[in-house]
């Protein structure tokens, strides 16, 4: 049933034994977390330590298998792309495989997921140690790992969609992990439903793409490799108009808009911070929200055929990057600032796709995963130590939580693009791309880089540097370990040649772009330093000067309010209540009316039944006369 086939043409033949082993390893990457999740949910739901061990062990196994494949591939022993799959559904002309696609792209993403994921899992062991429902947490975490790997390793659109939905579910469960908090439960709902709205477009796109994918000789397909080969031919022959494909592309892009929280469906991500912090780090910073970007990279062969859709993607990404960064200015919640930052960085990545640079996007995705996970874990460490999330109530953490602060600083620097750190390189790639293709976007992106520096600076100066009242205790080693690990990654990720691995030959360093962005960053940091550390400018007066934009930003552009208004007034009060009214009064009313009609007709007929015998005779005789007059026929 399992069929392994390798596109071995690229780098010579692969040793069959290795191929078999690689196939097993590939399956192991995907399925180990699933098995662990099932085991935890079935037998470990009341055994916390078993759950922790299974979850961490499961993902670690995946990581080891990934590393194995990675080294085999990088050494050239294993020819990639390489695919193993089983047929999940085979029905008439429809065949949906379920499998593992190993190539450079999926390997790097799998490394991100399993590598950073393992760190975060380990961190969770410390973070969730006292939680009564830790087993459920770890079960869901394992299930999440499986789901995201389903996306990453997917060989086809449907499998991708399956993973897409499953990560949504896990995200829902994990955001709402502390379901006793109404806000957490609400945030979970919001995340799931917003993603559902987006996936509505996504699945339509998938269906449409599937429906146009047939050729004269072959059935329709959802298989990436087949589509990649087939679509250009179909477009060239005119069988699929570019306009149609553009619409399909837009519909497909709906998926990332929801999952990667692009404008205007970004509203769920800040709320998602209600979940435990490791979840925010893993799901809502490093992996799941990046899945949208990954999907666009994975299927870039489709999007590169439709420049108009790419343009839309570009502007959506740029808008998200800029607007989300601005939202970071006014936020006071430690995790939410990071969430807006995540939004903004995701905007960068999407923008990079729009600019035609999947490699740049993927590069930024990888580095961002490292430093943003680091930042969140750092924030988690702070929360764990102080039980406080409001930056204004924190402060002075550099003293009480030294190691956490150090790693947080490294993450922050990587985020703002401090030269030499990973964020600097990856952001630079995108800015170069922007300058080549679209000057206004370039300027906007540079400005956004400055804004990033500003709010990150604000966070640092207020929460960590400020005159401390928060006396937290440093976190246990099981939590610090991952912090160091991720800090290390954030430093080195810029140097290990990710773009080259992804197939882009690194061009010469663009000093002009680098300098400009560094200047913007420096400006941002300086301003924030002046405002929040040095207090040279009174923040209050600045706020007053910018009253209107301030309220606009504080209310998150009123987008949440618009949605709430829609749900409460349009959806519930007009559509749903209208339908319910129609149901009660027209549909049920009509049925009742028929019943009443029957009753009434009966009552009417019974008017003959006067109880007076002579009425009966009269009716009798009238009946006879009626019969005679009606049916007497002359022949």
């Amino acid at each position: 049933m399992v069929e392994a086939h390798s596109a071995a043409a690229a780098v010579g033949a692969t040793d069959p034994a290795l191929l078999a082993l690689a196939g097993k390893a590939a399956w192991a990457i995907l399925l180990t977390p699933l098995i662990c999740a099932v085991a935890i949910l079935l037998v470990g739901i009341h055994r916390k330590s078993f759950a922790m061990a299974a979850a961490v062990g499961g993902l670690a196994t995946s990581l080891i298998c990934t590393l194995f494949l990675f080294f085999q591939a990088s050494q050239g022993h294993l020819a990639v792309p390489f695919e193993v799959s089983v047929t999940w559904i085979s029905l008439g002309g429809l065949s949906i495989p379920f499998g593992v696609l190993i190539d450079n792209l999926s390997l790097i993403m799998t490394l991100v997921v399993t590598g950073i994921g393992s760190g975060i899992f380990l961190y969770s062991v410390g973070y969730m140690h006292d939680d009564a429902a830790a087993s459920r947490y770890f079960g869901m975490l394992s299930l999440f790992a499986f789901s995201i790997l389903t996306i990453v390793l997917s060989t086809n659109w449907i499998q991708l969609f399956i993973g897409w939905e499953l990560v949504g579910f896990c995200s829902y469960m994990l955001i709402g992990h502390w379901y006793a908090k109404p806000s957490a439960a609400a945030a979970g709902n919001k995340a799931f439903i917003v993603n559902r709205v987006a996936d509505f477009g996504f699945i339509i796109g998938i269906l449409w793409l599937w429906s146009v994918s047939s050729t004269a000789s072959d059935d329709r397909t959802v298989h990436f490799a087949t589509l990649m080969a087939r679509l250009p031919v179909l477009v060239e022959s005119g069988a699929v108009p570019v306009a149609t494909l553009s619409v399909i592309g837009l519909l497909l892009f709906c998926g990332p808009v929801g999952k990667s929280a692009q404008f205007p469906l970004h509203v769920w991500l800040p709320d998602a911070m209600e979940g435990p912090t490791p979840v925010s780090a893993l799901i809502h910073a490093a992996t799941m929200v990046a899945a949208g970007v990954y999907m666009l990279c994975r299927t870039f062969w489709l999007f590169e055929m439709i420049p108009s859709t790419l343009n839309v993607i570009l502007y959506v990404g740029a808008a998200t990057a800029f607007l989300a960064a601005a939202l970071g200015f006014a936020e006071n919640d430690l995790k939410r600032i990071l969430a807006f930052s995540t939004l903004s960085q995701l905007g960068y990545m999407v923008m990079a796709i729009g600019l035609g640079g999947p490699v740049a996007a993927m590069y930024h995705l990888t580095t961002h995963a490292c430093f943003k996970a680091l930042l969140f874990l750092g924030a988690g460490s702070v929360i764990h130590g102080t039980h406080e999330q409001n930056i204004w109530k924190l402060g002075g953490l550099t003293r009480s939580m030294r190691w956490t602060s150090l790693t947080f600083l490294i993450g922050s620097l990587a985020l703002i693009g401090f030269p030499g750190l990973s964020g600097f390189f990856s952001k630079d790639e995108i800015l170069v791309l922007a300058r080549e293709h679209n000057l206004p976007i370039y300027l906007l992106a540079t400005l956004t880089a400055g804004m990033t520096a500003f709010y990150t600076g604000r966070l640092w100066f207020v929460a960590f540097m400020g005159k401390g009242h928060a006396h937290g205790h440093e976190s246990p080693p099981v939590m610090l370990g991952p912090l160091f690990f991720l800090a290390g990654l954030s430093v080195v990720a810029g140097y290990i040649g990710i773009p080259a691995w992804l197939g882009e030959h690194h061009e010469a360093f663009h000093w002009d772009v680098a300098l400009t962005s560094t200047a913007a960053v420096a400006a941002g940091v300086t301003i924030s330093w002046l405002l929040y550390s040095k207090r040279a400018i009174a923040a209050g007066s600045l706020v007053r000067a910018l009253a209107l934009p301030q309220s606009f930003v504080e209310n998150r552009y009123y987008i949440d309010d618009i949605y709430t208004w829609y749900v409460q007034n349009i959806q519930q009060k007009i559509i749903a209540a209208g339908c319910a009214w129609f149901e009660q009064n027209i549909i049920i009313g009509a049925v009742n009316a028929v019943a009443a009609l029957a009753q009434g007709l009966g009552r009417l007929l019974r008017l003959f039944q006067t109880g007076v015998v002579q009425t009966y005779v009269l009716v009798f005789v009238a009946g006879v006369l009626w019969l005679i007059t009606r049916y007497l026929a002359v022949r």
């Binding site: 047929t87 999940w88 559904i89 085979s90 029905l91 008439g92 429809l94 449907i158 969609f161 399956i162 939905e165 499953l166 579910f169 829902y172 469960m173 709402g176 379901y179 006793a180 908090k181 109404p182 957490a184 439960a185 609400a186 979970g188 709902n189 799931f192 439903i193 559902r196 709205v197 509505f200 699945i203 339509i204 269906l207 449409w208 599937w210 429906s211 959806q571 519930q572 559509i575 749903a576 209540a577 209208g578 339908c579 319910a580 129609f582 149901e583 549909i587 049920i588 009509a590 049925v591 019943a595």
Partner: protein
Amino acid sequence: MSINAWLLPLILFAPAVGALLLTLIPENRPDLVRRVAVLVTGISLAGALHAIFHYQTAAGGFQYEVLKPWLPQLGIQFHLGVDGIGVVLLLLHALCGFTGVLISYSIKQRVKEYYIFYLTLITGVFGVFMSLDLFCFYFFYEMAVIPMYPLIGIWGSDVKEEGRVKYSKQYATMKLTIYLTLGAVVALVGLLALYQWTGAQTFDIPTLQAMLADEPLSTAQQRWIFPLLFIGFGVIAPMWPFHSWSPMGHAAAPSAVSMLHAGVLMKLGSYAIIRIALPLLPQGAVYWLPWVASIVVMNILYGGFVALAQKDLKLIVGYSSSSHMGYVLLGIACLTPLSLTGAVMLMFGHGIMTALAFAIIGQLYDQTHTRWLPDLGGLAHQIPFIAGCGVIAAMASSGLPGFANFVSELLVFMGGWDKYPVQIVCGALGVVITSVYMLRVVRGTFFGPSKPEFEGHVHDAKTPFEKLPFIILVLALLITGSWPGPMLRLLESSTGPLVERILMNEPNTAPDSIQVHSPAKPGHASASNEHSEMN
């Protein structure tokens, strides 16, 4: 004699015999009564499992056939048999029936009478799913409707809105019974017309099918009969705007009856359409189904919106059922092998899912005595196991991958895309609406801070026996949903040929090709021979 020859009668008559046995058991022995019910439904379940595992997919067609003359003067036979579709629905019903018996342990009043009616209901539904004779079919169909009346009337509960009675259980059950009977008699007229106009003097479905393949009814006749059958059976399906009996019926019924009702009874309609209306009246189907495809969009969206406005848990799930049955009807209306397979799969998936949902709501209601959403909340603290099942049911209903509902809805969408893209898009929108109200239910019921009034006297399903029905249903959903291949192959062996035969009748196809594609099976030919000898 091999087991195959008496497998279906065993499944069918086990509950009936159980009901008869119960009449002999004194009323003051409720435990014995329950045990008998568990035993007989268990036998049926085992039989259904045996049937599905031993169905010869490669051979296809009707299997485990039983053919006995019944009323030879009219060409009526006691003809049982199941194809891939039937065997799946048999399993669905056996699962729902068995778990329903377990859930019914919470019934404390008039236990004996309850199980007698309940087992009669189960017998009727089994009969429908395995009947291959129109008379048999109708016979069991009506038999399945009537026990609902006392079941809801006696053991049900009023549907309340903010403390006031919105629909009394008497109203709900009377409406349900009369509405369904009305639908059934409309269908009966259609069936009789079919019998008459065919001139075959037989009610045997395979024989009729073979005959009609050779000499189809005239297009005009088909166009007359088809709506009779479709509306008649559509009432129970339930097709918009004939659905209003269903949500309030679900809401008023005791939980095990809601389970059977929403889980299985509603599938009788769509099953009847697939088993009778489509194969026997292909041209009628081709003519009317485009209309149906548009009407059922109303089912999906309208049902969803009304569910959004409800606050009674059972009404929400009730309207959700009518919304989801829209997908089933849409799958039928699209009339492609994919969509039809998806429709039947959804009948299974939705049946199990909704049975699970009603089992959960039943547990909640038994303990909290309310189903009014604003009164509930935070129950995950007290009943984590049931809450977990609740999340699973909600997710299955929202079409989360891993559950049978996702696969089936996907197949309906893929199968119907070419024919009715607009309707499919609307259908996909329905999935979004579903998740909105389902998550609202989960959040409002299970999440939030623990409420003091529930603390201490709301108990989770603790023992394995109490958990058993939930586990069975969840596993059924998960297994078929995550590995749908075997069930789909089973269904395809029946839906594929069915659709193929119907589409042969598209006006633009040469009629000559009909005979090539629908050879009468040897078994059926002999059946018709027997019949002609009797005359």
